[in-house]
Assembly symmetry: C2
Homo-oligomer: 130 residues x 2
Amino acid sequence: MAEMTEKIRNLFEQVPIASLSTATTDGIPNSVPVGAKKVIDNETLLISNQYFNKTLENIKANPKVAVTFWEGKEGYQIKGTTTIETEGPRFEETCAWIKEKGHTCKGVLIIKIDEIFGVSPGPGAGRKLA
Amino acid sequence: MAEMTEKIRNLFEQVPIASLSTATTDGIPNSVPVGAKKVIDNETLLISNQYFNKTLENIKANPKVAVTFWEGKEGYQIKGTTTIETEGPRFEETCAWIKEKGHTCKGVLIIKIDEIFGVSPGPGAGRKLA
């Protein structure tokens, strides 16, 4: 388990789009842009499932994900382990918000943060931060 | 093998940053932003290795990658198979270009395109295009 600092958390909340990467159990990566995202707490992210396809198939077989986001020269990669919720308060609350935006609502990904890395360009790229 | 259309190729060239995803052989995804990128031809991308760390380690063990890029509501995911070049004309030419930008030059990733998917939001997300 790892914790976001305020700086990392702020950037995750601020970027319009993050990249969500998954993989098959034999290592074929899949990566899609995601915009419907929230911080639950410093150790937990939420991403809404509206149109996931291969992403969902991968997560059901292999819950490991990487969430990467950047702005200018600042960027972070969060590695985490995902559970899928399709009922309960977090699902209902997200659905209300997603439907307001005119999208369908199929479930939420709850990502517990395992590790955080810097991905800003330069010799420190890839440094483990938490 | 799959081919980019002009529209896909143009967007890849135009976006300042794309996401490059790899995975360990047992399926832990890794994803980093990349800016030093080029089209070699409609079936081949080049990405410069300046500061790759886990990305390079993953590619050496497992050459499968996903390159995802978007702008506004348009986005694509290119799945490919990578070879690493650290000598020869493509390496030398890229190095000259990278050094001009003030970065170090360690090698180039040559990505042969296997498949292309749409990742624009909406019910068609994830559709295979080529």
